[in-house]
C-alpha cells in the first residue's frame, strides 16, 4: 500500500518538491546509465568488425554493423582445442539447467508440502538441517562431492552436474515452498481429506494449482543460479561435457592469436541471454512471489 500512497493525486506537494524531484530523477538516471553501460558496450562491440574495435573508441556506434561475430561465436570459435563454436556447450547448459531446475523444484515442493501439512515428529529439526544447507559455501562441498560422483560413476557427465545442482538447490527450494505452504490454509487440506482426496491428489489438485507465484520464484532462482554456475561446472566436467559458463571462460582466456573481442562479447551475450529472458518475462512473478505470504490479504 505504501506505493499507492506515495503519489496519490490528493497528496499535498510541499514547496521545493519540484527541485527535489529533479534531483531524485537525475540521480536515478545517472545510476541507471552506470548500470547499463557495460551491457551497451558489450552489445556495440559484438556488432563491430574487429578492425573497428582496435581503431576506435568503445562506446561509439559501429560504423559497419555485422552479425559475423555472433555467427562465429555460435558456430566456429575455438573452445580449448576444438573449434566448433559454443553451440554444443550451450545445449549442455540447457539440458543441465532444465533437468536440475525441474527436479529440484519438484522435490522442494513435495518437501514443503510434507513439512507443513503432514507434520511428523522431528519435522522442525529436519527442516533446520535442510536450512543449514543454504549456508554451506560451494567450495566446502567440492572434494566430497567429487568423491561421491566418482563412486557413482557420474564424474564428468551432465547427469552428475544435474545431481550436484539438485542436491545443492534442495535447501533453497524446500525453504521457499515450506514458507509458502506454511501460510496455506489447513482448512483446505481438511476439506479435501473429507472429500476423499489422499496425499498425492491433495498435492496435485489443491496445493500445486495454487502455487503459481512460489513456483515462479523457485524456477527463476534455480535457473539463474544453475545457468550461471561456474565452479561446479569447472570442477565436475571436462572438455566437451562442460557447460556454457566454463566454455565461455575457455574461449575468452585463450592466449594464442589476436583477441577477438567482438566474438568474445557475442559469446558472453549468448551465455547471458537465457537469464536475461527469464527476468524479462518472469520478473513480475518473481516480485509477486517474494511478496506473497509476507503481507496478509
Amino acid at each position: 500500500m505504501a506505493s499507492a500512497a506515495w503519489e496519490s493525486p490528493q497528496m499535498v506537494k510541499g514547496r521545493g518538491s519540484r527541485l527535489s524531484r529533479a534531483v531524485i530523477y537525475g540521480l536515478l538516471g545517472f545510476f541507471a546509465f552506470v548500470y547499463l553501460l557495460p551491457l551497451v558496450v558489450m552489445l556495440l562491440t559484438s556488432f563491430k568488425p574487429l578492425a573497428e574495435i582496435y581503431a576506435g573508441n568503445m562506446v561509439a556506434l559501429p560504423r559497419q554493423w555485422t552479425v559475423e561475430p555472433w555467427v562465429k561465436a555460435w558456430e566456429e570459435v575455438c573452445v580449448g582445442l576444438l573449434c566448433r563454436g559454443i553451440k554444443g556447450y550451450f545445449w549442455i547448459s540447457v539440458k543441465m539447467t532444465f533437468f536440475a531446475v525441474l527436479i529440484s523444484t519438484a522435490v522442494g515442493a513435495v518437501n514443503g508440502y510434507v513439512l507443513t501439512k503432514w507434520r511428523f515428529r522431528g519435522a522442525n529439526l529436519l527442516f533446520g538441517f535442510l536450512l543449514f544447507g543454504c549456508f554451506i559455501p560451494f567450495q566446502i562441498v567440492l572434494i566430497p562431492m567429487a568423491a561421491v560422483l566418482g563412486k557413482m560413476g557420474l564424474a564428468s557427465s551432465t547427469t552428475g552436474l544435474v545431481l550436484v545442482h539438485v542436491v545443492y538447490g534442495l535447501a533453497f527450494t524446500t525453504l521457499y515452498f515450506r514458507n509458502y505452504y506454511a501460510v496455506f490454509p489447513d482448512e483446505l487440506i481438511k476439506a479435501a481429506m473429507i472429500d476423499g482426496a489422499r496425499f498425492w491428489s491433495i498435492f496435485f489438485r489443491i496445493l500445486l494449482p495454487n502455487s503459481g507465484p512460489i513456483i515462479a520464484v523457485t524456477v527463476i532462482w534455480q535457473f539463474t543460479n544453475i545457468w550461471n554456475d561456474f565452479l561446479f561446472g569447472a570442477s565436475f566436467s571436462t572438455g566437451e561435457s562442460a557447460p556454457m559458463t566454463v566454455a565461455l571462460n575457455n574461449v575468452v582466456n585463450t592466449s594464442t592469436g589476436e583477441r577477438e573481442y567482438n566474438v568474445h562479447m557475442a559469446a558472453a551475450m549468448i551465455a547471458a541471454l537465457p537469464t536475461l529472458m527469464v527476468y524479462v518475462f518472469g520478473g513480475r512473478y518473481f516480485l509477486r512471489g517474494l511478496m506473497a505470504g509476507s503481507v496478509k490479504g
Binding site: 490454509p185 482448512e187 483446505l188 481438511k190 476439506a191 479435501a192 481429506m193 473429507i194 472429500d195 476423499g196 482426496a197 491428489s201 489438485r205 489443491i206 494449482p209 495454487n210
Partner: protein
C-alpha cells in the same frame, strides 16, 4: 442420516488435556450445537468426529458402528468450515463435485447432483465462477452445497457463520434451520455464539475447559442451567448472578426464607421467597449465588403475589434496544440487568419499585457453582 455417539472421548496433547472425557449421544435427525468460549475443546471434538483429529481415549460411533479407525473420507460425513475452505483454483461447479470426483462417481451423475443442490441453494447462476468472484454469503452457500451434494450421514458445521456480517448471519441462520427441517439431517454444529446455539439447536451441549457442562434442550439450558457458568454464558443479556445470603424469615404464621443481598456497606435488600424445595432450604443461613433472568424483572403493572415481589432499586444505566429497554439496576449494591418495556419512564439515578418473578429464581452453591435443586 445416522445417529452419533461419543463415548468417553479424551484428547491430550502431551501433558495438556484438551478434552476430559466427553459423553454425548445424538439421535438421527437431531441438531446438536456444541457451544462454549474459545479454547473449550468444541472444535477439537468436532475434528475428532470428522476424523481430522484422533481421540486419545474413547470411541466415536456413527450409526452404531465405531468409526475410530476410519479415514475422514470413509466416515460418510460432510463438513462446512469457518473459512468456507473453497478450493480457490476451481470453479463453483468443480468445488461442489470434487468429492464425487474423488469417489469416482460418473460425470453425468455428478452434473445432475450439482444441478440439484445448486437449485436448492439458489446458486445455479454461479456455477462457472471462481470463489474469489463470490460474496461472503455466496461462498457460504457454495460451502454448504459441497457438503449437501454427497448426502452424508452427518453434517458437521465449524462456526460457519462467524465470518459473515450481522445481517447476513441472521439470514443464513434461518436458512440452515430451514434446511435442517427440510432434509431432517443429523447435524453437529460448533459455535461460540449462544444465540446461534439457542435458535438452531434441538439440543445444546455447553462446554468449558474440555468438560461438558450441560447437555439439554435450549429451554432446559436456558431456564434450568446446570451451574453458574452455563447460567452466565447462555442468554443475552446473561443471567444476573448475585452472591446473596439465604436467611430464615417469619412470613406471617409460617417460617419462610428470604434472600439478603448486600455488597459492602450498601443498603441491604431483603426479598422474601416463595416456598422452596428441601435442597434449597438446607442452605438456610448460608451464602449462595442467586440467579435471575433479565426478563423476570419487571416494572409497574402486573399483580403482586407469592411469586412476584416488589423490590426497591435504583437505576444505573439504561440501554434502549428498540423492542425493549435494558436497565441496569442496583439491588443491595449488586447490579441486575432487567429487560423492560420500551416506554420505561425512569432515568438513571432515580429509584423505583421493580417486580421480581421469583418462580424463575435459581440458586447455585458458591463453592461448587452447581445448581441447587
Amino acid at each position: 442420516m445416522a445417529s452419533l455417539e461419543l463415548i468417553g472421548v479424551k484428547k491430550r496433547y502431551g501433558a495438556q488435556e484438551i478434552l476430559k472425557g466427553i459423553d454425548i449421544s445424538v439421535e438421527a435427525g437431531e441438531f446438536l450445537v456444541l457451544v462454549g468460549p474459545s479454547g473449550c475443546g468444541k472444535s477439537t471434538l468436532l475434528n475428532i468426529v470428522a476424523g481430522l483429529d484422533s481421540a486419545t481415549e474413547g470411541d466415536v460411533r456413527i450409526g452404531g458402528r465405531s468409526v475410530k479407525e476410519e479415514h475422514p473420507s470413509e466416515r460418510d460425513i460432510a463438513m462446512v468450515f469457518q473459512s468456507y475452505a473453497l478450493y480457490p483454483n476451481m470453479t463453483v461447479r468443480q468445488n461442489i463435485s470434487f468429492g464425487m470426483e474423488m469417489r469416482k462417481v460418473p460425470k453425468p451423475e455428478r452434473e445432475r447432483a450439482v444441478q440439484e443442490v445448486a437449485k436448492l441453494l439458489q446458486i445455479d447462476h454461479l456455477l462457472a465462477r471462481k470463489p474469489s468472484q463470490l460474496s461472503g454469503g455466496q461462498r457460504q452457500r457454495v460451502a454448504m452445497g459441497r457438503a449437501l451434494v454427497r448426502k452424508p450421514r452427518i453434517f458437521l458445521f465449524d462456526e460457519p457463520l462467524s465470518n459473515l456480517d450481522a445481517q447476513l448471519r441472521v439470514d443464513m441462520r434461518t436458512e440452515i434451520k430451514k434446511l435442517h427441517q427440510r432434509l431432517g439431517a443429523t447435524i453437529v454444529y460448533v459455535t461460540h455464539d449462544q444465540i446461534e446455539a439457542m435458535t438452531l439447536a434441538s439440543r445444546i451441549a455447553v462446554m468449558r475447559g474440555g468438560e461438558l457442562q450441560q447437555l439439554g434442550t435450549p429451554a432446559e439450558v436456558y431456564s434450568q442451567p446446570a451451574n453458574a457458568f452455563v447460567a452466565g454464558f447462555m442468554g443475552s443479556p446473561r443471567m444476573n448472578l448475585a452472591p446473596a445470603r439465604l436467611v430464615e424469615y417469619a412470613d406471617g404464621p409460617a417460617l419462610g426464607l428470604a434472600l439478603e443481598i448486600q455488597s459492602g456497606d450498601r443498603l441491604k435488600a431483603r426479598i422474601p421467597l416463595p416456598a422452596q424445595p428441601a435442597a434449597v432450604r438446607a442452605y438456610a443461613g448460608r451464602e449462595i449465588i442467586a440467579g435471575v433472568r433479565a426478563e423476570a424483572i419487571g416494572f409497574g403493572g402486573g399483580r403482586l403475589n407469592g411469586h412476584r415481589r416488589a423490590v426497591e432499586a435504583s437505576v444505573e444505566i439504561i440501554e434502549p434496544t428498540g423492542a425493549d429497554t435494558l436497565a441496569v439496576l442496583l439491588v443491595g449494591g449488586r447490579e441486575f440487568t432487567a429487560r423492560l418495556g420500551p416506554d420505561f419512564p425512569l432515568k438513571p439515578g432515580e429509584r423505583g419499585e421493580f417486580h421480581f418473578d421469583l418462580s424463575k429464581l435459581v440458586f447455585f452453591d458458591p463453592r461448587t457453582e452447581q445448581r441447587i435443586a
